[in-house]
């Protein structure tokens, strides 16, 4: 079994076939040894919960895909599987290329450290050698507009400044695929514009972007395709405009809890594989 065939079109940056993630929700989950020992006396109740189920999609190289859906619909779970931090329960996932993820700076690193030190550390975290990062450092700081603050501890940064630096780092590592989960909103209007412009530039340079967002406007303007997740299932997929329209219509039309259970596991066209078996 030297060469197992990878599913999907090799020109796609991301191929996902019937991907599923199950969490075993333990209602009284023992988080300490003491509880575990006590728990041995009682039968353990676990309830399987599918946060993502039977998701099939692909993103062409140089494409931008938006992932939308209500809270808890599995968007972040899907992104974490793409990032390689969560192991899928079922299905296949192929990511062709190097990855960059938006990191929340400040959360990860020592607040006493300067912006500069945090840039090295986050780059290292993304697997980028410091030497390679140094070359583009001035550009990075210029992009984040933090020249004046780069050598002060990040505990003195505002939330938006941290977000800027984080975004600047994640685009500066120049990976082939950029994964973004709901963080663009923190920057001010001017910076958001700048980010959008930069992402367009990256896409035309062949980079692939996946964005999880509740910002319908951003998804419409940045993404060419979108996937609407509903309770872990793909409810709709296709051109970003259409999917966002459908999602908005449904969100406005329906009260909470009445979301219909209809879902489309396979959606035609737009580079999305119809059949999981056509590997």
């Amino acid at each position: 079994m030297a060469t197992r065939q990878m599913p999907g079109d090799p020109s796609d940056a991301i191929t996902v076939v019937s991907l599923g993630k199950r969490f075993d929700l333990r209602h009284e989950r023992p988080t300490t040894i003491t509880q575990e020992l006590l728990g041995l006396l009682r039968p353990r109740r676990t309830e399987p919960f599918w946060a993502v189920q039977d998701v099939t999609m692909s993103v062409p190289r140089g494409g931008a895909m938006g992932v939308i859906g209500r809270n808890g619909s599995g968007k972040s779970t899907l992104l974490k599987m793409l990032a390689g931090t969560l192991a899928p329960t079922t299905g296949t996932l192929v990511v062709r290329g190097s990855l960059s993820t938006l990191l929340q700076l400040g959360a990860g690193f020592h607040p006493d450290f300067t912006g500069r030190n945090n840039v090295w550390l986050s780059a290292a975290l993304l697997g980028i050698p410091e030497a390679r990062m140094r070359a583009g450092f001035d550009d990075l700081v210029g992009f984040a507009e933090l020249e004046q603050f780069i050598d002060i501890p990040i505990k003195y940064y505002s939330a938006g400044m941290l977000a800027r630096l984080g975004f600047a780092v994640s685009i500066s590592v120049d990976a082939e695929i950029l994964l973004i989960d709901e963080v663009l909103g923190v920057g001010d209007l001017a910076f958001q514009r700048k980010c959008e412009a930069r992402m367009r530039e990256m896409m035309s340079g062949g980079r692939t972007i996946v964005i999880v967002s509740h910002d319908a406007h951003a998804v419409r303007s940045l993404c060419d395709t979108a996937v609407w997740l509903d309770r872990g299932h793909v409810r709709a997929a296709g051109p970003a405009d259409e999917v966002v329209d459908a999602y908005e219509a449904s969100s406005l039309g329906e009260g909470p809890g009445t979301v219909s259970r209809v879902h489309a596991a396979d959606v035609d066209g737009d580079g999305l594989p119809d059949d999981p078996d056509d590997a």
Binding site: S18, T31, T32, G97, S98, L99, F113, G127, I128
Partner: protein
């Protein structure tokens, strides 16, 4: 095109996970020790950054910096010297040196293990956002503590010579003794770092266990002081065989203070060290894919 010629150098998770219905076969990517070390090598900058962050935090926080990390064992030495020379005199020659030679390696072990135990849970927000070899977290704590230990030895050894320690060729065995301790410390650290993700009271249990272990280790007393007969048990032999730190700390003293050859029983901690390192690393790798769900 992906213009960057270095792009191939960055990690991709292509094929990271197994095929359909092989949920937990992602360990397939361990593929033996070679790939583990190749992956660690790729992330060496991260390891280095984390180690220097750890040391910088430790030394930078106070004006005295590194001096503080020396002061702690010195003060403890003072306490033990006062207690055990005044309250219960011991026949040990040069007791302060004797205590220090045991305290420094012990502090390395205790500091590394308790820091490493918290290393994965303390970085939860990184674990679920970006993939990197998780062992880097406990390893960086162990390495930072090792660096601190070596620095303190660099101060201790000349001081010991000055105060009457005598060396011969056996001083060159010191790196071997340190290596064995590093294996033991790393193995336990990896095991507990993983365990603490699933059971958060590992930290508390560890605290008690370390205290007990400290008293069962001849840090402030001589190993020979342990009774051969206590309720019918040969306590000396028991501690000697089961507690690798008992042998190691005795070795440290022989090598650094008394020009006595290493005792032959050092083979036992060596074997225990290899076993702990292997078991700890294996256990850590086995459960690491589930970290992102649990933290």
């Amino acid at each position: 095109m992906p213009a960057d010629p270095m792009a191939g150098d960055t990690p991709s998770n292509q094929g990271r996970w197994g095929g359909p219905s092989e949920p937990s076969s992602n360990q397939g990517r361990l593929g033996g020790a070679v790939s583990v070390f190749r992956e660690l090598w790729h992330y060496r900058d991260l390891l280095r950054s984390l180690v220097s962050r750890d040391l910088a935090v430790r030394y930078r926080r106070s004006a005295l910096g590194f001096v503080w990390s020396l002061l702690n064992p010195l003060l403890m030495m003072l306490v033990f010297t006062i207690v055990f020379q005044v309250v219960k005199p011991q026949s040990v020659r040069n007791y302060p040196l004797f205590v220090l030679a045991g305290l420094l390696p012990w502090n390395f072990l205790a500091g590394a293990i308790s820091g490493a135990t918290r290393s994965v849970t303390g970085n939860a927000h990184l674990i679920d956002k970006v993939y990197f070899p998780r062992e880097i977290l406990p390893l960086s704590v162990v390495i930072a503590n090792l660096v601190n230990f070596l620095l303190s030895l660099a101060v201790f050894l000349p001081l010991a010579l000055l105060l009457g320690a005598r060396w011969n060729g056996w001083i060159f065995a010191l790196p071997l003794v340190i290596l064995i301790e590093v294996m033991i410390v790393t193995g336990i650290s990896m095991m507990l770092a993983a365990l603490n993700v699933f059971y958060r009271d590992t930290e508390q249990v560890l605290e008690v266990a370390l205290t007990a272990w400290f008293f069962l280790t001849p840090v402030f007393y001589e190993l020979e002081l342990l009774p051969n007969q206590f309720l019918g048990i040969d306590v000396w032999r028991l501690v000697y065989t089961l507690n690798p730190m008992a042998t190691l700390i005795t070795d440290y003293r022989y090598v650094m203070l008394y020009e006595t050859p290493i005792i032959r029983h050092t083979l036992i901690p060596f074997v225990i060290g290899i076993a702990l390192l292997g078991a700890g690393w294996w256990a850590f790798r086995r459960v690491a894919p589930a970290f992102a769900e649990e933290v």
